[in-house]
Symmetry: D2
Subunit: 384 residues, 4 copies
Amino acid sequence: MAPTGTKKGILERLDAGEIVIGDGGFVFALEKRGYVKAGPWTPEAAAEHPEAVRQLHREFLRAGANVMQTFTFYGAQINEAACDLAREVANEGDALVAGGVSQTPAYLSCKSEQEVKATFQKQLDVFLQKDVDFLIAEYFEHVEEAEWAVQVLKTTGKPVAATLCIGPEGDLNGVSPGDCAVKLVQAGADIVGINCHFDPETCVKTVKMMKEGVEKAGLKAHYMSQPLAYHTPDCNCQGFIDLPEFPFGLEPRILSRWDMQKYAREAYNAGIRYIGGCCGFEPYHTRALAEELAPERGFLPAGSEKHGSWGSGLEMHTKPWVRARARRDYWENMKPASGRPFCPSLSNPDSWGVTKGHADLMQQKEATSQEQLKALFEKANKGQ
Amino acid sequence: MAPTGTKKGILERLDAGEIVIGDGGFVFALEKRGYVKAGPWTPEAAAEHPEAVRQLHREFLRAGANVMQTFTFYGAQINEAACDLAREVANEGDALVAGGVSQTPAYLSCKSEQEVKATFQKQLDVFLQKDVDFLIAEYFEHVEEAEWAVQVLKTTGKPVAATLCIGPEGDLNGVSPGDCAVKLVQAGADIVGINCHFDPETCVKTVKMMKEGVEKAGLKAHYMSQPLAYHTPDCNCQGFIDLPEFPFGLEPRILSRWDMQKYAREAYNAGIRYIGGCCGFEPYHTRALAEELAPERGFLPAGSEKHGSWGSGLEMHTKPWVRARARRDYWENMKPASGRPFCPSLSNPDSWGVTKGHADLMQQKEATSQEQLKALFEKANKGQ
Amino acid sequence: MAPTGTKKGILERLDAGEIVIGDGGFVFALEKRGYVKAGPWTPEAAAEHPEAVRQLHREFLRAGANVMQTFTFYGAQINEAACDLAREVANEGDALVAGGVSQTPAYLSCKSEQEVKATFQKQLDVFLQKDVDFLIAEYFEHVEEAEWAVQVLKTTGKPVAATLCIGPEGDLNGVSPGDCAVKLVQAGADIVGINCHFDPETCVKTVKMMKEGVEKAGLKAHYMSQPLAYHTPDCNCQGFIDLPEFPFGLEPRILSRWDMQKYAREAYNAGIRYIGGCCGFEPYHTRALAEELAPERGFLPAGSEKHGSWGSGLEMHTKPWVRARARRDYWENMKPASGRPFCPSLSNPDSWGVTKGHADLMQQKEATSQEQLKALFEKANKGQ
Amino acid sequence: MAPTGTKKGILERLDAGEIVIGDGGFVFALEKRGYVKAGPWTPEAAAEHPEAVRQLHREFLRAGANVMQTFTFYGAQINEAACDLAREVANEGDALVAGGVSQTPAYLSCKSEQEVKATFQKQLDVFLQKDVDFLIAEYFEHVEEAEWAVQVLKTTGKPVAATLCIGPEGDLNGVSPGDCAVKLVQAGADIVGINCHFDPETCVKTVKMMKEGVEKAGLKAHYMSQPLAYHTPDCNCQGFIDLPEFPFGLEPRILSRWDMQKYAREAYNAGIRYIGGCCGFEPYHTRALAEELAPERGFLPAGSEKHGSWGSGLEMHTKPWVRARARRDYWENMKPASGRPFCPSLSNPDSWGVTKGHADLMQQKEATSQEQLKALFEKANKGQ
């Protein structure tokens, strides 16, 4: 194994103006592969099926990712194994290892700053012991909790990135993206941005607002985006979780590789230099990011040996009309059909308007009882 | 490794009325993971990246598949490696290994029966040497070529399955599904059916027509279906290859797990007992087949440890309105939105009407030249 | 007023190869104007509000219609007034007056041939007294009843046209369109075709099948089509009545004038020479038929003084980007959006499979009772 | 004829809390009937075909409209005839006559306030001579021009209503709806609101913003809305004129009667009491407004003798499954299909960003030349 020290760190890269490609979300990809249970979404596969986790890391690396996020979790016993897997694969290429923390049930249940910070602190031990390259505070719906996380992570001396899962309307307390970003930078974040909950278009738009806020405040930061690989123009402020299709009917919303190239270009044009993904990303989505930005970066990812740019691999297809699709303008202008004429194109999101402090959000200790479910159904039906 | 002999063979299972779950297509799944190039679609990954191929085999096994098709190809040098990988994983569970042959450029170029049969014969050596459990002649658009394949495969003494990639309108020479099936059974096929090119609904409908033909002719056979995981109500007789979205814009057409459960039930009700998939299938699709038929089979696949039936895993979700989705009627009746309001729901397929013997279909030796491409584009544009 | 005698009769025109433009359906157009009640669909407006009926006749005449169908009905006392209105407007231009009969509750309730024929006979008196130019037996779902109608109409010595409201699957007894047409010609019809229930594409396709049947039988006839102005690709054999949108939610299905030009061209190419419309047609739809066929006919309808061909009237629009739409290829290739992203593009038709002789079809004497409605709702809900 | 004086004036009605139902737009309705040319959209039909204009007035009256807007135009010689027609029909029922002025080419071409006001002044003569009941300044994209119009109209001593054709983003100079409304009230308007350019949902939303602005400024006014009968969720600030479907492909966007009832209720709830329509409205749309508000008003319009509420007329339908649709919840929850699976649900509006003062907007004296059109097409194609 090559020692980590020979690689440039995340801030060295960003300071030098390099583009950093992030990886994709693990829980959705591994759910489809059979190793993560939707609902609890816990990462025990890192210990139970390391070969599956290693393989996914490897595919994202091959697709061009420069970051391997450890497949860890706040309550998990298996975080050591997860760190080792991420490091093992990172060392197979030009990638860094990032450890992450995310929003806590403690915060939603209105525990004190001290208690919430203790939760973050507890997760740091393994990251320090395994010497990850940098830290990410991600998937926060309330900027206040994210600030607390950044403050804890900063105590390690490692670079800290912070992403919220919010849209242009701001966090669930109504703090605007620009103000959120200022708070995060002031709390010590080196990189700020958006992850999860919304599609690339929405995320890039929101990061732009963050950037404007930071610049207006006379501060400096790097910017990152890790959006969904699902089209979500119909979301409300809580993102794709409120869509009726979440999480088992999202297929028709999956982005194509061409949608991803558009995303990479727009993110780049918006000044974002850490460009990755979240739920729904498959390795070919990540590869599309790296391919779109190959002219700026000067190289293609390893995985492009199996991918002709803009469909050029079809030049070898048996059928002549498929060969005729081997061109950029064909794919760039395609409006792909859903094959589902009995389905609508947009949905009305559920929206119960509950957030931090609401009794319904207290962490469930056991599976919801039949009576609780009945009450929920009635609420849901009235809501429509 | 457990000796193959301890497992029941494919015909023993089907004769006993058991349901056999097939695996999914490898080229599309591995293309998304970065190991297969769209266009040539060749399986060199079996040698170059065996861990990736092994992992996919394992995921399908875990999802409940009883068959591991070797990731081989008519021209490939690496078929030995592919057979070993399939056997290795099959031995980790209750699965058989199947070797397959498919339609040949030789046939499309109007080579003689002798020449075409020689192509099939050449592929048998490795299957015999590696002692696969049975053989599949699959992905044939002309029943005549499939008959030749069956005749060659039958010489091995192993059970033979034969599937065409046709729809209810019949093969590309206009032979009806019923007549196709009769010809295949008469050529020696033990199992007949449909694979690839069409969605589950169309494939089940076509296999039904095959079954009616076989029964009307006083013959007997087992039936199988290995459809796409894409909705294709708008296809013409040549299937999804003619859709403008093929192969890089098919995302909005991907079936959900609930669509798959519906397919499994309809296939079962139609008398099909070998129920699998083809292009577009991910392991969770295969798992859905095994879960739908768990009552008939008496057991769930290993992968169901990470999947609550009909969304029951959501009972533990933090958000109460997501918990309210933990019920069968919610997912069964869902009409998922595409999130793409600027896209249509159906496409007009390309249809150049060329088939066996047409000059445009001669195997390309080299990438299509710029001049050839220009000619194709003009043809394509006129066609619209 | 010019005497009728100076005009060429319907058969003279068709025998000479002329194109005859039919008018559109009155009940739907007058329902939107406030003079017909949906449900009973009766024509009392001819007596109660003659100015409204006269105005609609006049608009169709101005749009190019060569036929004024009397706004009459089998049970109506006001048929004299209706005939007078039709004649009054017909005499304002080059149009003929046609009296029509359509399917009867008597037939659905399994009355005898004699009883059904008596119903038709009773309606003839006013048509003879008012000396209409020809007769139409239209809107029949069972060819047997249409034959009876034709036999009765033929006794008048006037030319007889006969149209069924069926699609390519044939009449509700399963008689194919080709066989239906042969029966109608043998019963004495001079003109045969399709009206109502399906969109232009389906109707033209069905008339083609009728024409093939007639020609195969060595017979001769003229052909006519009077389709809906609604897109109905998702209908089953009973047509648009089974669509869940019937009759108060059909708006998104309304054809544009460009769709109508396409229809006129396809009907003409199929050998249809009596080209008109039915429910949903507004005068501008009829005008589009006359405009499309102006090159063949050598003249434009009067109403075209207020319509530039292919959007050319927009050359005078204030906004430059609207002026840019003043061209044929713009409108011909338009795929108009619905503005309804929460709606599907196709519906599942209701289909209760009841036809002639079923108790549910007996004519209602009084409004359905609350109990009957409740029973129907339950049936409907189970059906979905 | 009953003397006008016996009727309550517009302000008496609104001051008393009564609901006033407006009529619908004439140019679109008469275009479909063959009497108005799309592009110039001029009202010469009032003189050339008075029976057609009278009939449409009558249908709106019968549908419940309390206002007959004269079918007049700034340059038209035929305004006397138009006033007489409106008065004739108004006197047949409980309706008032309103004369209107709208935005002028003079303003777009940057003529002076004096010149623009002279244009309005010139149109007043006939309204005064014919003694219309009140005046409407409508269809203004720039509030400045609307203020000038109100100032001129106020000199007559008649009540003045003023509507802009803007959405929530404000007028084309970026003045917010709230500020626009304040300016109009300060200029002397008794009634303010929105007409044309957007669908009911957008118009009601915008009038709400106007009302908030007026109330915040401590002023008082009555409110009106006269929206399109087309769904336009995809419009930009210039409204439906920028949609690619304008004006000849709008059919799939037409509102149903149920959509209209929803509009009437929402307008009423928003405090709007003058509730009418604009382009796309047919008499049955207006009737739906009057029917929805019948409980508040205590009576149904005359036209409801031919309309059962919520589909109740279907209780008499022959087919039992159509009888099952005779209920409110069926129609209220319907998501009507377009029957157009090859079309999208939303469009990208053209948006050239030109407004007052731009050379392209100068009034065309003659039809656009072929060269001008060519230049426009090129611009349009580059824009996409």
